[in-house]
Amino acid sequence: MKTAAPTNVHLVLRVNGEEQQVSFAPYKTLLEVLREDMNLTGTKHGCELGECGACAVLVEGVPVLSCLALALDCEGRAIETVEGLASGGKLHPLQAAFADLGGAQCGYCTPGILMTAKALLEREPNPSRERIKEAISGNLCRCTGYQQIYESIEEAARTIQQGSKR
């Protein structure tokens, strides 16, 4: 039986604005490469089948389920993960709001929801409650019942808007 491991690919991934050389088996998903080869364990997994949304990251600003994306396909594209949300020690308004208002309970679905919400607010700075519900409908959360997540996103939207007015 043939058992040779597939030859690794070597390429540069641009994650959170930093370019990094990575070497990995070509079948690996973006999720696996982020977590296992780049030690970016902030991105989570709940199914590896594209069903729960826990692994959502942004690729060129668009939420992508990293468990369904081949890392190979992401070469040269801008990838954003939860690790890149804060600027230095300062939390992103979404992070601050989720922490303050109960948007994160166990915190496991949180990175995926934060990234999805970031994409939403960049597209629509002042989304309605209905738009928020639609945007995160692919992210399952078993803890919160979603209400405090909506409120966190709304609070972050207000903070960002106030910040940009200043």
């Binding site: 989570k44 069903e51 601050a96 922490a99 915190g107 019942g145």
Partner: protein, 816 residues
């Protein structure tokens, strides 16, 4: 209590909030160690079979495979309860459900391990499979286990508190109803993961997604036959638990053994499908409830019978069996109560504790039946409940001690906020409201293994830097236990919660706490934390008093300052006070511990049900039912929870709303169900829907608005009066949905989940003039034993039984 609090009761960012939003919380699968290997389990595709042979030679020869383990490597059985040591880490000669692990591959990476699974050859000889309790009762042979009551009955219980038949005979009305509650599963978004490693001293460390590190520590040491002192279990913060991470799981033992044998770290992370098959979730329960009432709605007596589908192993099932009956009495005045329960083995993944552990099922039945009673007696369901709410500081018929009870206030609140009086039976056809209540433990009174030691311990260290570190075995599963711990210590010491460092859930470092289950953490850990913090404060006060030339009793602590209470204008900083105390007493530390009060019941079985306090909840659900599709939409839920006191109202509200969410899932869509493959395809009982896509749960688009109110009636047994909030608010949701559906379209769905097909079937019956009901039609003949007779407190009892019922034998023919 007039004292104002600085930390308790204030809405705050939880102390671990920042870690959770930055991706820094380290869950078990985030633990990556040098030289780490990866484990995969081969699981049985047969629901019931003997293993004729296992050949692992091809797998062993595969490059990259370091170790293959099978049942012969694990001679010792395990089980989370001392009374049910019925599982093997890897099944040696017999499998009892699809998904039971039979072999393990440890390889250089997950992919290699996964591929090597196919190289293991297992020969099975299929046995007759048992799919549900009725089949289990009718099929005493082959026995799934050689232990248990008889045949395929795992447990039988029968308890009678006063003569219930007599109580029903003198009732004006007796209601008898059958209900069925389908099983469902926890579905934490985090799949279970574990990493085991041997440290430099040759001792084992296990990082795991577990809610109960102490129990795992004990059981793991026993399963591996190594001294507990050489085992350290670290409960990583759980990505949701809900009861699904309370058992010692096969994979935890397997990776531990592999790490010991290989001298290298070994990790496993289950796939989502494996999590479904591992289960340990809500038992499917068939129920018969007989309740006698007077014409003005007072209950004269109640008889609850339950039949549980336990799945293939014991697990927590002995406790679950009791919980399908024992808490029926703490909500309303029930002068006489009888409870029969039976748990059967079936060839399905084992059931166990899920949020509410055994109590949501009978609660559903009780609250739907009360809705029927109210209608028959022409009393408003809210008024009926208000007139029978249990009284504070009383004993129940089954000798449970109720302390504070804020239920009446909860009912009044949801009646007002939901505009109940203008909606009930008044909304247009197709729309309706339903009301229900619930009650839950604030911690199980007894640990799962018999001992007289504390159930929670807290240790405090404090040094001249002003740093306060609190150690406790309690486990953060998302509910905010670290935040409760920090808040309580901070409140007592007069400092900021964020100045307290929490070290929790690590059996190598932290004092024993029994774990995050039975809603015990706030009360038990909280009381231990108060004791530890007060002891430390006493030392600091004595040192500061000397310096301030006053008495220790006159030293105040608040907002990071220590001051003379009679002259607060000249405070010293908390840190300055610590230095004084360290000068006077040497290195500073303290411990605190907590044991619940002894319960008054003395009969055998009285250990399940007692709690230091009970929480109460009332809920109104509004429902819209589409008569053409049977689809139920819930636009809004109003819920009020008697929490005693909210330690952090942000987290408390989150627990209530999360409970509503999970309750609506159980009411409307979630079900852990199995189907039998055709005989030519093995006849196996396989999970119908082992994926997150097909196992339906509410998404953000389905979740209604929830209006949450907290009723704060501080309970003297609880820290700062704080009761539980993690489980109780789930309980009334399911029956409130069922009652709302009845109000909307006049049909009774006595079976959960209430899916559109059942609604349509009931509407069809209604249209034909038949009884507009869908639910169980019969209750099988269960060989419940003679009941143990325990007179209730008001009938002269002392909490002991007055008979010694013969439990066995029941003749085998009775089962046929």
């Amino acid at each position: 209590m007039t004292k104002r609090f600085d930390v308790i009761g204030k809405p705050r960012r939880r102390v671990d909030g920042r870690a959770k939003v930055t991706g820094l919380t380290r869950f078990a699968d985030d633990v990556m160690l040098p030289r780490m290997l990866h484990c995969k389990l081969l699981r049985s595709a047969h629901p019931h079979a003997t293993i004729e042979s296992i050949d692992v030679s091809r797998a062993q020869a595969r490059p990259g495979v370091h170790l293959v383990l099978t049942g012969k490597d694990f001679p010792v059985t395990f089980g989370i309860l001392p009374v049910t040591q019925d599982e093997y880490p890897l099944a040696p000669e017999r499998v009892r459900y699809v998904g039971e692990p039979v072999a393990a591959i440890i390889a250089r990476d997950e992919q290699t391990a996964f591929e090597a699974l196919d190289l293991i050859d297992v020969q099975y000889r299929p046995l007759k499979t048992i799919s549900d309790p009725k089949e289990a009762l009718a099929t005493p042979e082959p026995r799934i286990h050689s232990y248990g009551e008889q045949g395929n009955i795992h447990r039988l219980q029968a308890l009678e508190f006063g003569d219930v038949n007599e109580a029903l005979a003198r009732a004006d009305h007796v209601f008898e109803d059958l209900f069925f509650y389908e099983g469902n599963t926890h579905l934490p978004i985090e799949q279970h993961a574990s990493v085991a490693a041997v440290d430099g001293e040759g001792k084992l460390t296990l990082w795991s997604s577990t809610q109960v590190p102490h129990y795992i520590h004990r059981a793991l040491a026993n399963a591996l036959q190594i001294p507990p002192a050489h085992v350290r279990v670290i409960a990583c913060p759980n990505g949701g638990g809900f009861g699904g991470k309370c058992d010692l799981h096969n994979h935890e033992i397997v990776v531990s053994k592999a790490a010991i044998l290989l001298g290298r770290p070994v990790k496993i992370c289950l796939t989502r499908e494996e999590v479904f098959y591992m289960h340990r979730g809500r038992h499917p329960v068939l129920m018969r409830m007989r309740t006698g009432v007077t014409k003005d709605g007072k209950i004269t007596g109640m008889h609850t019978q339950t039949l549980l589908d336990g799945g293939a192993y014991g697990g927590y099932g002995a406790a679950s069996t009791f919980y399908t009956g024992v808490l029926q009495t703490v909500t309303y005045e029930i002068p006489r109560y009888k409870f029969d329960a039976c748990r059967t083995f079936t060839n399905k993944p084992p059931c166990g504790p899920k949020r509410g552990h055994g109590t949501p099922q009978p609660r559903f039945g009780q609250e739907v039946q009360l809705d029927r009673i109210a209608e028959k007696l022409e009393i408003d369901p809210a008024e009926l409940r208000l007139s029978i709410v249990a009284k504070p500081n009383t004993l129940t018929a089954n000798w449970l001690k109720i302390g504070t009870i804020g239920l009446a206030e909860c009912i009044r609140k949801v009646v007002a906020s939901s505009d109940w009086k203008n909606k009930f039976r008044k909304l247009p056809e197709g729309r309706g409201v339903g009301l229900a209540c619930g009650a839950y433990l604030c911690g199980a009174g007894l640990p799962i293994y018999w001992n007289k030691m504390p159930q929670s311990g807290v240790q405090l260290l404090i040094d001249r830097s002003g740093q306060v570190t609190v150690f406790c075995g309690a486990t953060e599963i998302g509910q905010g236990s670290d935040d409760v711990l920090a808040a309580i210590v901070a409140e007592v010491l007069g400092i900021d919660a964020y100045d307290v460092r929490c070290v929790t859930g690590d059996t190598g470092l932290t004092p024993v706490d029994l774990g995050s289950y039975s809603s015990r953490v706030t009360v038990m850990m909280g009381n231990a934390a108060i004791q530890a913090a007060e002891r430390l404060r006493e030392l600091i006060a004595r040192a500061a008093a000397e310096h301030m030339e006053t008495l220790p009793e006159n030293v105040g602590f608040a907002q990071g300052r220590v001051f003379r209470a009679d002259d607060p204008g000249k405070p010293m900083s908390f840190r300055e006070a610590i230095v004084l105390a360290e000068e006077k007493f040497g290195t500073l530390g303290s411990v605190g511990s907590y044991s619940p009060p002894r319960a008054p019941g003395r009969y055998k079985g009285a250990g399940v049900g007692p709690s230091p306090a009970y929480s109460y909840t009332a809920c109104v659900v509004e429902a819209e039912v589409d008569r053409n599709t049977g689809w139920i939409t819930v636009p809004k839920v109003w819920i009020a929870h008697d929490i005693g006191r909210a330690v952090n109202p942000v987290s408390a509200r989150g627990q209530v709303e999360g409970s509503v969410y999970m309750g609506l899932g159980e009411a409307l869509m979630e079900e852990q169900v199995f189907r039998r493959l055709p005989p030519k395809l093995s006849n196996a009982l396989v999970h119908k829907i082992p994926s997150l896509l097909e196992y339906k749960s509410l998404t953000s688009l389905d979740m209604p608005e929830v209006f949450t109110e907290l009723v704060e009636d501080p309970d003297p047994n609880c820290p700062f009066g704080a009761k539980e909030v993690g489980q109780g608010p789930l309980l009334p949701v399911m029956p409130a949905v069922a009652n709302a559906v009845y109000d909307a379209i006049g049909v009774r769905i006595d079976e959960l989940p209430i899916t559109p097909d059942k609604v349509l079937a009931a509407l069809e019956k209604k249209a034909k003039g038949e009884t507009p009901r869908v639910g169980p039609e019969s209750f099988p003949d269960v060989p419940y034993p003679e009941p143990m007779l325990v007179p209730p407190p008001w009938e002269g009892g002392d909490g002991n039984s007055v008979n010694t019922p013969r439990r066995r034998p029941v003749k085998k023919e009775a089962l046929a």
